[in-house]
């Protein structure tokens, strides 16, 4: 396909209007718990300093612990996962302020790798001490003055039953949840989705947006991002998500 034609079709296919997602958690108060959690039978007195007759530590103190941010806090969330590079730019707007950019919002994203797998515990739940990639393709950034966060990642793969998507959780600066949502991808000839073509899986059995249980009600396409770029350099994803803050 001619590059010019491809870019044009991308632009046409990916036209999006800003999203209006308003929080509607108006439920009244929380239910008070009917039982004490200490009833679950756990020990409340950890035993490292029990009365056992062991010697006391006799070592030089340290290393001194320092405050460490969650391992989610980074812009590049690739962690060695292979796939087509993708830069994702999410702008968070505030519906209570004419959808102007919301500064200092905390934005978590997570998505699956090229094979459709998420980073999470395996069967035994044990993680090795090679801690570098435990939380691959999961990241957290704080929005700048314009409400923008930028992540470097790979174009997500897909798994049975779902269209390609990115999960997003938006919090205010103090960590209060404002919105949990998902980003969908434009489809059709010339779209990034068709260029990536499901990586090694192909697209046989793929669930398109219209049949996806999350996106099928989004007839206006407000959850669909704009995705430009190419397989040689990178893809660039952009979307605006508005929340009531």
């Amino acid at each position: 396909m001619e590059r010019k034609h491809f870019l044009k079709s991308l632009l046409l296919g990916a036209f999006t209007t800003p999203v209006l997602l308003s929080a509607c958690n108006n439920d009244a108060d929380t239910v008070s718990p009917s039982e004490d959690t200490s009833g679950t039978g756990t020990v409340t007195n950890p035993g490292s300093s029990s009365s056992s007759c062991t010697v006391a530590p006799t070592e030089t103190e340290g290393p001194f612990p320092t405050k460490a941010p969650a391992s989610y806090v980074r812009s590049d969330i690739t962690d060695g996962r292979t796939g087509y590079k993708m830069t994702a730019k999410l702008t968070i707007g505030n519906t209570n302020n004419s959808c102007a950019g919301l500064a200092n919002a905390i934005v978590d994203i997570w998505h699956c790798d090229a094979d459709g797998n998420y980073s999470e515990y395996g069967g035994s739940g044990m993680q090795s001490t090679n801690l570098q990639s435990v939380h691959f393709l999961r990241g957290r950034q704080v929005t700048d003055a314009n409400g923008l966060v930028t992540f470097t990642s790979i174009f997500p793969g897909w798994y049975s039953g779902r269209a390609t998507h990115i999960h997003v959780h938006i919090y205010n600066a103090s960590g209060k949840s404002l919105k949990v949502t998902q980003i969908a991808f434009p489809e059709g000839t010339g779209s990034a989705l068709s260029l990536v073509n499901g990586y090694n899986k192909g697209m046989s059995g793929y669930t398109y947006n219209s049949r996806d249980n999350v996106f099928s009600d989004d007839s206006a396409g407000v959850q669909i991002a704009t995705v430009t770029g190419n397989t040689t350099d990178e893809f660039d994803l952009a979307i605006k998500l508005n929340v009531a803050a």
């Binding site: 679950t40 490292s48 056992s52 010697v55 006391a56 290393p63 612990p65 515990y121 044990m126 949990v180």
Partner: protein, 167 residues
């Protein structure tokens, strides 16, 4: 004679009574992360405790893993040495290769109910002998001849996690 090869598991419980700096940082940051991540499974704000979340939202089981991101940085600061457990000279001697982080209890409105644990798993050790309530162990990868050993006491929260015999 066959060698008995064991791995140990030390379960380090951290709660609001923590006094050491490392423990307090883990307590604070894991609680804050729990409050953030729990909202994923509590959209209606119906639940208050971790137990309620688990009972009503099966996916809340993932919170163990999701909250662990808040403490990864602190694990790295340990340099793969298991804390607290000492040999009879008063020195830390156990390394860990694997770990599992768990939330034991928590409460979105009562921080004092928050309680987490690390399970640290050692690499294989040779269990040479038992002297009263002390175990004599050495690292598995040692050459012929003299073997350096560690003597340590059986104690609460320290378990022999696995055992097998090797000729």
């Amino acid at each position: 004679m066959a060698n008995r090869i064991i791995t140990l598991c030390y379960r380090k419980v951290i709660d609001s009574t923590a006094t050491k700096p490392w423990d307090k940082l883990v307590f604070e940051d894991s609680y804050n992360e729990f409050k953030m991540q729990a909202q994923l499974y509590n959209q209606g704000k119906k639940y208050r405790t971790f137990a309620e979340l688990l009972q009503n939202e099966p996916n809340a089981e993932k919170l163990h893993y999701l909250v662990s991101a808040a403490v990864i940085g602190y694990l790295q600061q340990l340099n793969e040495i298991i804390p607290d457990i000492l040999n009879n000279l008063g020195k830390h001697f156990l390394k860990f290769e694997k770990f599992q982080f768990e939330i034991i209890n928590s409460d979105l409105q009562d921080k004092t109910k928050h309680q987490v644990a690390f399970n640290f798993y050692t690499p294989p050790l040779v269990w040479h002998d038992t002297i009263q309530n002390y175990l004599l162990v050495s690292e598995k990868e040692t050459g012929a001849g003299e073997i350096l050993t560690n003597l340590f006491q059986l104690q609460a929260y320290l378990n022999i996690h696995s055992i097998h015999s090797e000729v």
